[in-house]
Structures are given as C-alpha cells and as structure tokens.
C-alpha cells in the first residue's frame, strides 16, 4: 500500500491555492507547509492557508518590497554610467580583432568602428559616481544609489535576455522574480494583487508576459498587468447600469446560495469562492482608488513629470509608489524605446538619448526622493536598467549613416540600484579601458538575483519549488550574493 498523503510543499500549495486562497481559519497542512519557508515562529496573526498571506522570510530582510524599473531594449551604458575616455580617444578606429574573435553580434559582422560617447560625463555627489548628462536628473540622487558597472549576461537577443534577467532562464516557462517574491513573502494587502506590472509607451517587453509569469508556480503569484489609462484592472468595472447597491444585492444572494451549496456538499473550496467574491468587491474600490493619481499634490505630479490620464512612465513611477505604500509586494515597470541601434533619430546616442534619458530619469529620481522622504526607501529595493549592454562600436547596419547607434552586447552593462539595504553612493565593478570585458567584480544576472533575494531575506538556493521532480529556483543552479554592494 502506497502512502498518498505525503507530498511536497509545492503540491500542497497548489491545493491550498484553490481550496482556501483566503480566509479559512482551519489549521491545515497547507499552512504548515507554507510556514516552513520561515523557520522562525509564524507571525502572531491567525494561521491561514492563503498563499498570499504575508510571510516572514528565513532571515532578517533589509528589503520588504521591490520596484523594478526595466528599460526594454537595453540602454547604452557607455553613454550613461560606464565612462571610457580611452574609447573616446580611439573613436572611429577599427575594433581590435581580439574583441571580435569567436563572438556573435545581432546586427554586426566584419570589423566595426569604435564609438566613443558624445555625452559629457561628470562625477556626481559626494561619492563621485560617474554619470553622463543624458541622465542629468539622476545626478541629484547619486549619494542614494549604487551603480554596478560590471553586469554580465549570457544572451544577446532581447527576448532571451529579458527572460534570463526576470526568470533566471533564457527560455519561457519559469516563474518570474516577482512571482518568486510573492511565493516567498506573500502580500501585505488583501485588496490588491501582490505583484503589479505597468507598461509605458504602449509596447510589451520582448520577453512578453513570461517576464511576469508564474511559470509552474500557482497562478496567484503571477503579475497582474494594471493600466494607468482606462480600467486599471481588466473587468474591474461593474457593467453599465449596475450600481454598487445593486451589485451588493446580487452578491448577498450569491453568498446565500453558495453557503447552501457548502452545507450540502461540504467542500471548503466553496467557502473560498465566497471569500473571493467579497475580495473582488473590495478590490473594485481599492484598485480604482490607488490608480487615481489626480489627487496627488501638484508638486508631486510635477516632480515626477506625471499627468493624470497619461499612460506614461512618469505616471507609472508615481503609481509604483502608491502601490507599494498600500502593501503591494512587487511592482514591475516596463518602458519601451531603449534599443539604441541608430535606425532613427530617437535611437541616436546623442540627442535621442538625452531626450529619452532626461524624461525617464526625472521620474526615477523623483521616485527615489519621494520614497526617501516617506521613509520607504530604506526597505524598498529600486532597480533601474536593461537586459544587456551595448557595444563599444557602431552597429553594423547603421554604420554608414549619420545616426550613431550601438549593437547588443552581453559581456558588460551597468545597472542602478537604490534602497532596501543596498549601499548608498557606491560604484561597483570595472570594465576594461574600451569597455569590452569586465575586469573587476563581475556580477552575472544570477548573482544579481541571488543578491536581491538576499536583501528580501532569502538564501537563493533555499527558495525552491518542486516541479517535474526537480527543485527549481530563480537562480537555476548558479548565483552568488554580491555582499560588496550591501550596506
């Protein structure tokens, strides 16, 4: 006789998700299995099977929530953070063969020409972090941030690189960073999703919904795409003609009939469904409230560059703050328009970048300052960057034209981090004088993931989920914590 009762946490969790997503007060195995994620005594609150109930991580976290600002397409880091005077000196020269051997590039073949930045660079803040004028608004927050100049990835096409960054694996099918975070920590707000995604400039990232998917984790952990224009969450609004009182009238009848169903058949999932309808009813109010920025003071709107009703990145930054203030665990923003190949003037590393960089980083800087003034920066991780870097040479297809652009480059890129236990006013890592290779303190994207999970209180090798017989994790089988960037 085989024992059927014994099974891994992951299976229990799936059950818990559908049986008692919320509100059950019975102490089931599911609750225990979940609390195993935190060996520390469970919080004093009533035991719950809700997979999104807040959970303590195994160790003391420095960050409780995350705002990830992703610039889809990959910003040209050599024109933003990684200052290379030598590359400027050798501008226009043939790229040395040693850097091309055995390499594949997306749009470049043959021998390209080196391309020095046209952006003025300066040292910013007391820390003297190098930043270009393309991101001039960031200069004012230099002493609040860490810039990593030694990032590395394995992928040089957008979709695989974004998937690697957000799911730890370059192909579809794995849970995203936000989903892992909610799986590990739950959410602090019962009336809003735990993981919210906001997209600006009207285009999804190349990695698609996989960048905020739940993979094989239960789908309650997947990111919910909210919109800053129109209905904030799909199907949130009651149908035309049905007001709140009538909705309540209908829900009361629904509840009675469902209760009787429960009495007759005895399935706890029915009780869960009753609770879900009540939550949905509350969410209709709270989601509309949180997504309405029109009541923010004008000076806040101005600081971000936000305008009520616009679908802009600035609006989304402000929404990110409003969401995490209300206990949302993970907010992920995607901004389109960073693929600086030089195929049109907007993709020129001179004026095109200055325009894009200024308008974007105004909102980023405002967000960092706003979080700081509200005492939220200290336990909120903010990350700004792309999925890979860009080449120190001109992109092959556009090399003959007048617009200056760079190709995709996986071996080096830069990333900005702030808050949540990350050092303030610090530069980490170096690349060589032309910017082809990391020469000091390489940080692979798996190391970044390990470090961010560390800030959230997890050992990245221990936050696992069993699927197809294997314990999977965000960092796949890699990753080491970069303690140098931690406070």
């Amino acid at each position: 006789m085989y024992n059927t009762m014994k099974r891994p946490t992951s299976e229990r969790l799936l059950e818990a998700t559908r049986r008692t997503f919320l509100g059950s007060s019975s102490l089931g195995l599911g609750a225990l299995a979940l609390s195993l994620l935190s060996p520390a005594p469970a919080p004093a609150a009533r035991p719950s099977d809700n997979p999104l109930a807040p959970k303590k991580p195994p160790r003391r976290p420095t960050a409780k929530r995350v705002i990830y600002l992703h610039m889809s397409g990959a910003p040209p880091h050599l024109d933003i953070f990684d200052y290379k005077p030598e590359l400027q000196k050798r501008d226009g020269q043939n790229c040395p063969a040693e850097y091309l051997q055995g390499k594949r590039f997306a749009f470049t073949s043959g021998v390209p020409k080196l391309l020095g930045t046209r952006q003025p660079f300066r040292r910013c803040g007391h820390a003297g972090i190098w930043m270009s004028d393309a991101v001039q608004p960031l200069h004012a927050v230099a002493d609040d941030v860490t810039v990593i100049r030694s990032m590395k990835t394995d992928e040089f096409n957008h979709a695989p690189a974004e998937l690697l960054l957000f799911t730890g694996f370059a192909r579809q099918g794995r849970p995203s960073f936000g989903a892992w975070t909610c799986y590990g920590l739950g959410s602090e707000n019962d009336n809003l999703p735990g993981f919210v995604v906001l997209i600006s400039n009207g285009v999804q990232p190349s990695g698609g919904q996989g960048c905020w998917g739940s993979g094989f984790l239960p789908s309650v952990f997947q990111g919910v795409q909210c919109r800053s224009k129109g209905e904030p969450v799909l199907y949130l609004s009651d149908p035309p003609g049905l007001d709140r009182d009538l909705r309540r009238l209908g829900l009361d009848a629904l509840k009675d009939l469902n209760e009787w169903q429960h009495q007759e058949l005895g399935h706890p999932e029915t009780r869960t469904r009753i609770a879900q309808y009540e939550l949905a009813f509350r969410m209709q109010l709270s989601a509309n409230e949180v997504m309405d920025i029109s009541r923010e003071p004008q000076k806040i709107l101005d600081a971000y560059g936000a305008k009520p009703g616009a679908g802009s990145f600035a609006n989304n930054c402000l929404l990110a703050r409003r969401l995490i203030e209300r206990g949302v665990r993970f907010v992920q923003l995607f901004d389109w328009g960073w693929d600086f190949h030089g195929t049109n003037p907007k993709e020129d590393i001179r004026d095109g970048l200055t325009q894009k960089g200024t308008i974007t980083t105004q909102a980023v800087a405002a967000l960092i300052k706003d979080l700081k003034s509200r005492g939220l920066l200290q336990d909120t991780l903010v990350i700004w960057g792309g999925e890979f870097g860009r080449t120190p040479f001109r992109e092959g297809r556009t090399a003959g034209g007048s617009i200056l652009g760079r190709d995709h480059y996986p071996d080096c890129f830069s990333l900005l981090l702030a808050g949540g236990g990350i050092k303030a006013g610090y530069t980490h890592g170096e690349t060589d004088e032309l910017g082809f290779k990391v020469t000091q303190d390489e940080v692979h994207v798996h190391d970044l993931q390990a470090t961010l999970l560390h800030c959230l209180g997890f050992d990245h090798t221990q936050l696992t989920f069993r699927f197809q017989g294997r314990d999977y994790r965000l960092t796949d089988v890699h990753g080491k914590v970069v303690s140098a960037i931690l406070q």
């Binding site: 190349s206 698609g208 009939l257």
Partner: protein, 773 residues
C-alpha cells in the same frame, strides 16, 4: 530542500492531528525500496551520489547496489558507513547530508534506512520502468460495476472507509456531459435520462455524449496543451501563425476515435509513412508548434536547435512522462539518462527541413478547387510559352513574352486558401550530423552521435528504421512500460480530478508514487489492448466510483482532502474553456459551427503591442464567430485570451501537462463583469421573460438552463426575492435598468428585464456553475 523538510514536519503533524492513516507515522515492518527508501535517497543523496559522475562525490553512488557496496553492509546497519554518517552528531563534519546542502533527514527517514539495511539493503528497479503485469482483481463487499471499482473499494475497505451512494440523475447528467463533451446536456436530454426507467439508461446517456461532435472539441483541449498549440509563433514579436489545420486534425481524430497508437505515429512521423495521406502530413504539425524566433539579429541555427530540444523534451513528457531535459546539459541527476543518450534521441529529430524561418517553411498548402485548377492551367500555359520562347532572341515574339509576364504575375498572385507547417525529413547530403552539445550550447560541440534510445528504457525494436517512424513505433511497442500508464493516468486525471500518479508530468524517479499501483497497471494493460480512447473513457465514467455523490462530511474531507481514495464522487473546477462555453450554451448563444480558422471573440482593448510586432488588440470576428467554443479562440502566446488565462489557461509557450485550478478574486471579476458573461446574463433574462409568466417560473427557467437540476424551494425563494428587490430598485432608475438589460429593443418593462439579468448573472456566478458537482 523545502520538500525534505516538509517530510519530517509532516510526520510530526500527523502524530498531533491524528488524521492521516497510521502508515504515515510508523516505519513499515517490511521495507519496500521503491515506496520507502528511494524517495529518501533521491531527495537527499542522489545530487552528489547519483547517476551523474561529473558531480559525484567520494566516488560513491547510492542509486545502484554495486555503487553503494562500500557504504552498506547488508544486515549490519552499525557497520555501514551510510548509517554511521547519517546518525553522526550534527557538529560532526562527517555527518550526511552535509549541513550546507540544507538537506536534513528526519527521525523516520533514518529509521527507514536503518531497517532497510538491517533487512538486507535490497534494491528494486524504479516501478515505472518495470512493465505492468496483469494484477489480481481484488474482491470487495461493495457493489462494483467494473474492475476499477474493485481496486478502489478494496483500498477503501483497508482504510476503513466506504463509498458514497450514487449521485442523483440530474447531477450525473451534468457531470458526465461536462466531462465528455465540455458542455452541459440540453434540458430535454437530461429530462429524458432522468425519467428513463431502463436498466441501461445511464449507459445510453453516456453513449450519446461520446457520439457528439462536441466530444472531440472538448478532448482536443487536453492534447493541444500538450502539443503547445498556438496561433502565433512566440518570442518577442509573436507574429500570427497559420496552423489551425492541426487543431482540426486533433478534434477530428478524437471524434473519429482514432486508435491512440495510430494517433501517435501520425503526429511524430506521418511524413515517413508510405505514401502519407494529407491528414497524416497535417498531423506532423504536432512538432511544428515549437516557437520560431524572428526577432532581428537572432541566429536561425541557434533557435532551430532550441526547437529540436523542445521536440525531444515534449515527446518524452507527453509519451514517457519523463522530464529528460536535464540531460541536455549534463547527465541526469536522478534518472539514469546520460548526456550522450540525450543527443542520441535528439538525433531522431535533428533532420527535418524546418529551420526557424519566418515563413515557417516547409508548409503544406491547401487550395480551393477553383484556384487549384487555375494554378494548374497557368502552370501549363507558362510551360508551353517558355518552351516556345526557348532559344529565341529577346526582341523576337514580343506578344508571347508579354503574355508570359502576365501569366506569371497571375500565378504569383494565387495564394492557397490556407496552409500548415509540417515535418519533412532531409535526405542525402542535406542531412545534418548530430554532435553532443556541451552544457547545451549549440556551438560547443563534442563527439558525433547516432540515433538511439536511453538504455534504461526498453530496447529499440529489431529491424525498425532508426528514424522518427521507428522511434514512434518504439514508443507504442508492447514492451514500453511507460506510455500506456502515462496516457491512462492522464485520462484518469481529466475524469477524476487527480491522477493515480498525481505528478502526471513526471513518472521518473523524482515523480510521486501511484496511489493505486495495481489499478494503474490494470488500466494501462487494458488501454494498450486496443488503444481505444472512447472505450477507455467510457469505462471510467461507467464505474460506480465515478457515479458517487460528491457530498462529504468535514471529517471525511479532512481525512482525504484531495479525494485520492475516491470515497466520494469527483468535484473539481471546470477548465477555462468549459466555463466560457457553458455560459454561452446556457444563454443559447453558443455557435455549433465546427473547425476552421481561429476566431476573435470580444476582448477588452489592452492598448499595447508585442515587442517589434503589431498590436495585440484584435478586431472582433463577425456574427456567430464571436460565440464559438473556446477551443477556436485565437491563441496568441504573448497575450492569451485574458478571461481564459485568468482561469489558468496557459500561454502554450511550452508543453503543459497539468493545468492549475486556482480560485481567485480576478476570476470573480471575470464572471461578474466580462462583457461575454454580461451578455450571457442578458440573453438568459430575455429567454426567461419571453417564455415565462411569473417570477417563479422565470427564476426556475434561468436556474435550470444553467445548472440542469431544479432549484430547491429555498434557492428558488431566495432568487425570487432578489428579483423583487432588484426590480424595485431598477424601477426607480429606468435608464440604468435599460442599460443593464442590454437596451433590448422590444422591452416594455426594463426594470423586469434588468432584475432578471441580475438573477441570471448571480446564477452564472454560482460556485456550482464553475465546478463539477
């Protein structure tokens, strides 16, 4: 890790709560290697002491008796290094597993290993790799319909449980119709069954469901999840892909009750059959559902390799229930599959003509008869003209030349009505060599390998060609211990809610053990007998176990929350497609139109585009195409139909064996507010208004169209009260009423219409609506 810890705590809990069977807490008297020992070793030891020699520590492997000989003295736990190490004190550096692995053995694990060594440390092959043997059908005191019941009831008796009585006929009618066709029965059909006094009334009802074309539309869904079927190519720009002929092939195959062995061969190797039919070629689109990357700057060869890897992994998941993917980069940590063996399987799939091209070639075109005749005629005329012009100077025969140009233009403008990507085997010098790819990198190559199957499985059939056709025959050969079990288990999972092997995607060493191993073997052998899908499914739904009432007491529920023992009837949430189809069906809106190009029902505007691609919003289809079954909804990978994805429909980037069945507030929002469901409620209200004369009649009609059974007096009264209250409120706001009722042109009493719409919406949102009952 979490897994390991769960085991130990689970044991503690079991002792406190006293709800689980005693077997959990006690160490069994006789140790069974597969049941008791392998899970402990596999979860805690194999990563360093398993099949992968690259990561093996201390040259010790515990997955074979030979490998473990240095660490185990059979019969002498105290002399065995294995036992000494696992019982060493926690601060002893020699203790296993090492603290840094985060793995710990609980007291029960240790006791089991000790007793195992005491009893001689006997190994046994993994259960799923041993061919099923005809089991003895047990006897039972409870009434059985077929051997399925005998196996289940015998286990219930052991557990001191007993089955539930049969569910009432309305419940049964809805349950079995939903399970077999994805739709509820019509009221008339259900009524006829309820009043049928014949002894075989239920069987006749089942046969009617199996014969409906809706059967294939429902069961295709499961297969399309496995086949990762979608109407787009995936990756960044996710362009639309024309491959719906394959979807239709699957629907028609289920409806024709195509034997599963034939279904297998056609999909994996239809093109290699002698003189393949069009249907057999279309079937090979199964493996053309892999994604194509047309993002600028991507290497076609790289993503062709990715597609081949997907084909290998999908094939093993679908037919063998074994995740072989790990072995792409390194020898498998748990199952004895080497990296070389992985690429030997890879070689079977590495010689098709497709190569990650944006045009998806090779494809099979389908012409309308008129265009086809025209095309033939044009080709003939062109050939004749070209022959006439051969050897002539460019300035000669001007009229003929002009005519030729015109004909060529016309030919180029002729396009097939549709097409489908297919598999086409390369021949001669075009054939690719397969080499091991180190760490799964297609540029980092090792030795050349030839087609072959892993040694752990049954041997490749003698005299069979070493190509996809031979490989497909290997899968369905009688010697294969896995395929029949895996498929039988998957069908079981659809009908009963949970597989006999719960991890229906994983039968390998890291998978869970079957709850009823003898039953699974019996089912596998029975299915393998004729691979007859409809007969097999009929057997499942004919069983007394399936027909039980789903009612359960709190104590019974706690005892077996997942209903693994089937001491009650199955009651699980419907799939995304079923929920939508059912609402449209109840409202009388569902179109019966079958097959053909995918359709675009109403979808809210998202206002975003795919990266480098077009808008993911769509133009709604016209007329009845808005109300087709969910299986025909255009499946865009970057944006699966939002209301269905809320009910756990996957995006189908990769093969999905088991869908989740979550229960979330976003689902409540869909059923309350998605215009599709609002429209269904309005249509139900209209039907009730025009064909009934009292609120009670109207309520009963709405209720029965949705749930088949009549409402209880209590339910009826409550809904009538809702109607009365809502009508009073709507009477004070006639404009609102008109809007909510859907601006019915013939309406004389908008408040009544609106109140009935609210009643219908409440019924459509009932827990019972989204669940089997």
């Amino acid at each position: 890790m979490v897994f390991a810890r769960f085991f130990t705590k689970c044991w503690v809990v079991a002792l406190c709560a006293g709800t689980l069977s005693p077997a959990v807490a006690q160490v069994p008297k006789t140790i069974d290697f597969n049941r008791d020992v392998r899970p402990i070793l596999s979860n805690n030891c194999f990563q360093c002491h398993g099949p992968d020699e690259k990561t093996r520590k201390a040259r010790l492997r515990l997955d074979t008796p030979e490998g473990a000989a240095t660490a185990i003295v059979p019969g002498q736990p105290d002399a065995s290094e294995l036992i000494i190490r696992i019982t060493a004190s926690p601060d002893d550096a020699s203790r296993m597993p090492p603290a840094k692995t985060g793995k710990t053995l609980g007291p029960r694990d240790v006791a089991i290993l000790q007793q195992w060594v005491q009893q001689g440390a006997k190994y046994a092959p993994h259960w799923a790799y041993v061919p099923p043997k005809p089991p003895v059908i047990p006897t039972t005191q409870f009434r059985t319909v077929n051997p399925i019941d005998a196996f289940l009831w015998a286990r219930l008796e052991q557990e001191g449980l007993k089955p539930q009585p049969e569910a009432d006929r309305y419940t049964l009618a809805r349950r079995v119709a939903l399970d077999l066709t994805g739709l509820p029965p019509t009221l008339e059909e259900a009524e006829a069954f309820v009043t049928d006094t014949a002894a075989d009334a239920y069987e006749k009802f089942v046969d009617r469901q199996l014969a409906k074309p809706a059967f294939g539309e429902h069961w295709a869904r499961l297969w399309l999840d496995l086949a990762r079927y979608a109407d787009s190519a995936g990756y960044a720009d996710d362009p639309l892909r024309t491959i719906w002929k394959y979807r239709d092939y699957v629907i028609e195959s289920f409806n024709a009750n195509k034997p599963f062995d034939q279904f297998t061969i056609e999909q994996l190797a239809g093109d290699l059959l002698p003189q393949p039919t069009i249907e057999q070629l279309v079937a090979t689109a199964f493996h053309r559902n892999t994604m194509t990357n047309s993002e600028g700057g991507t290497s076609d060869e790289e993503f062709r390799n990715v597609a081949v890897v997907d084909r290998v992994n999908t094939t093993f998941t679908v037919w063998m229930g074994t995740s072989i993917g790990c072995a792409q980069c390194h020898t498998h940590k748990y199952d004895p599959i080497t990296q070389k063996e992985y690429f030997e399987v890879f070689a079977f799939f590495n010689n098709t003509a497709d190569a990650d091209r944006p045009d998806e070639s090779p494809t099979l075109p389908f012409w309308s008869l008129r265009d086809f005749l025209r095309k033939m005629a044009l080709e003939q005329q062109i050939a004749a003209l070209e022959a006439e012009l051969k050897g002539k100077k460019p300035e000669e025969l001007k009229p003929q030349r002009d005519r030729l140009a015109t004909l060529k233009k016309e030919l180029a403008a002729l396009k097939p009505a549709t097409s489908v990507p297919i598999m086409k085997e390369l021949v001669g010098p075009q054939r690719r060599k397969t080499r091991i790819q180190f760490r799964g990198n297609f540029l980092d190559l090792g030795d050349e390998v030839r087609e072959g199957v892993p040694a752990v499985f049954h041997p490749f059939p003698e005299g069979m060609p070493k190509n996809r056709l031979g490989f497909a025959r290997w899968l369905i050969s009688r010697e294969n211990p896995l395929t029949a079990r895996v498929i039988a288990n998957r069908f079981w999972e659809q009908i009963f809610g949970t597989g006999i092997v719960r991890t229906s995607e994983e039968f390998g060493i890291q998978g869970e053990l079957p709850s009823h191993p003898e039953l699974l073997d019996w089912l596998a052998l029975d299915f393998q007998r004729d691979w007859n899908v409809k007969r097999f499914l009929k057997q499942l739904v004919m069983s007394a176990a399936y027909r039980q009432s789903a009612a359960v007491t709190a104590a019974q529920y706690e005892r077996d929350p997942d209903n693994r023992l089937l001491a009650r009837g199955p009651r699980v949430r419907l799939t995304a497609e079923m929920i939508r189809d059912q609402a449209l069906f109840a409202a009388g809106l569902l179109s019966p139109k079958m097959l053909g190009p995918s359709v675009r029902p109403f979808q809210p505007s998202l206002g975003v585009s795919a990266a480098f691609g077009g808008s993911i919003d769509w133009k709604m289809s016209d007329g009845e195409d808005r109300y087709r079954r969910g299986i025909y909804t255009q499946w865009r990978r970057s944006n699966p139909y939002p209301s269905m994805s809320t009910f756990d429909a996957p995006n189908r980037d990769t093969c999905v064996v088991r869908r989740n069945r979550t229960n979330t507030p976003l689902q409540a929002l869909v059923l309350m507010n998605d215009p599709v469901y609002v429209e269904a409620a309005q249509a139900l209200a209209q039907k009730a208004r025009t064909s009934t004369s009292t609120p009670d009649e109207a309520v009963v009609m709405i209720f029965r169209r949705c749930l088949i059974r009549p409402p209880s007096p209590e339910e009826q009264k409550r809904l009538v009260q809702l109607f009365t209250d809502a009508r009073a409120a709507f009477q004070k706001a006639p404009a609102q009423a008109q809007q909510f009722a859907g601006n019915q042109p013939t309406s004389r009493d908008p408040a009544t219409d609106a109140a009935l719409t609210l009643v219908a919406s409440v019924v459509l949102n009932l827990d019972e609506m989204v669940m089997k009952r």
